[in-house]
Amino acid sequence: MPWKFDDSRPVYLQIMDEVKQRVLTGVYKPGDKLPSVRELALEAAVNPNTMQKALSTLESENFIHSERTSGRFVTDDMTLITALRKEQAESIADEMLSRLKATGMQNDEILMLIKAKLGE
């Protein structure tokens, strides 16, 4: 199944997001070896150069690291993964709040709503 990409942003940035997402959801676990560039490119149905660029950029962010002969590995640095999770959760929360406020709800009503949902 080719990965889904939208039209507005460079594909390599979207690949980086997808790889990060896979780490957060546990498809790739911390310390896991990643498939090769060519395998990933085929799976995503993108150009191998694009995949290479995405992985190198993730590498420069220390999110993955490569070992000369054995391939690329997901970081096992849990603080990095936790930080990413927090960052993503915050941006989702910001978006959700602004949409809830757009319905005309007040802060205390929103809080009650979320508590009720969590209590379900």
Binding site: D7, P10, L42, A45, K53
Partner: protein, 231 residues
């Protein structure tokens, strides 16, 4: 080293200029889209590179050598229309390619055909358009060439066959090779391209990285194409 270099390349058909003073250089290891409306000169450029047409003026180098029989052995060309005969069977065609090209990988071709369920004794005549296109692409991509010229490789096939063709291109080309794909179906090929060239009336209108287009314009190559070539 550049795989392809055009300097001041022009081709006239009588008084009509199909390509005018084209300057272009393609490095190795790239998948490049050659895009443009009908009659913009895409097929003319591809045929010039393949040595099927002679330039009116200008220079054309493939891996540093002028276009000749020697460069033809570096180029694997998929024409817009087939040159294979209808009466041929798959095995006929495979043997034809195998005897014609030193760099033809028989095992690779056979494996790919088997995985598609195309049998050695199937006749070309009995194949659907999609199957024929897949077969020809497999033949062309089973050569170890330096430059692949694919003229409309996904025209007239269904979306599933297109995906198959694109993944065959990605998985087949080597790091030291470059693929030049001409097509109208930009949306479908966009994600496998490194670079695009927009041709209009025989002139290069844009030559850019796909990522740069998305970064600078915030839109896909497909949308940009529609904007540039609005009728």
């Amino acid at each position: 080293m550049s795989i392809l270099k055009c300097v001041n390349l022009s081709k006239n058909y009588g008084r009509h200029a199909a390509l005018s003073s084209l300057d272009l250089e393609l490095p190795e290891g790239k998948i490049v889209g050659l895009l443009g409306p009908n009659g913009s000169g895409k097929t003319t450029l591809i045929k010039l590179i393949a040595g099927l047409l002679t330039p009116t003026c200008g220079q054309l180098l493939v891996c540093g050598q002028p276009v000749s029989v020697a460069t033809n052995s570096l180029i694997s060309y998929l024409p817009e229309r087939t040159y294979l005969n209808d009466w041929m069977t798959v095995i006929d065609i495979l043997l034809f390619f195998n005897s014609f090209y030193d760099d033809f990988d028989m095992k690779k071709a056979t494996d790919m055909l088997t995985s598609l369920g195309i049998k050695p004794h199937d006749k070309l005549k009995a194949m659907s358009k999609g199957t024929k296109e897949k077969l020809q692409l497999i033949l062309v991509m089973s050569r170890k060439a330096r430059l692949y010229l694919l003229d409309e490789p996904i025209g007239g096939v269904d979306p599933a066959a297109r995906d198959y063709i694109l993944s065959t291109i990605i998985s087949s080309y080597a790091d030291n090779a470059t693929v030049l794909i001409s097509t109208h179906l930009i949306g479908d090929v966009e994600k496998i391209l490194d670079q695009v060239i927009f041709l209009q009336n025989g002139v290069i209108k844009l030559n850019s990285d796909v990522d740069t287009i998305r970064e600078e314009h915030g839109k896909s190559v497909d949308s940009l194409f529609r904007e540039v070539f609005r009728c």
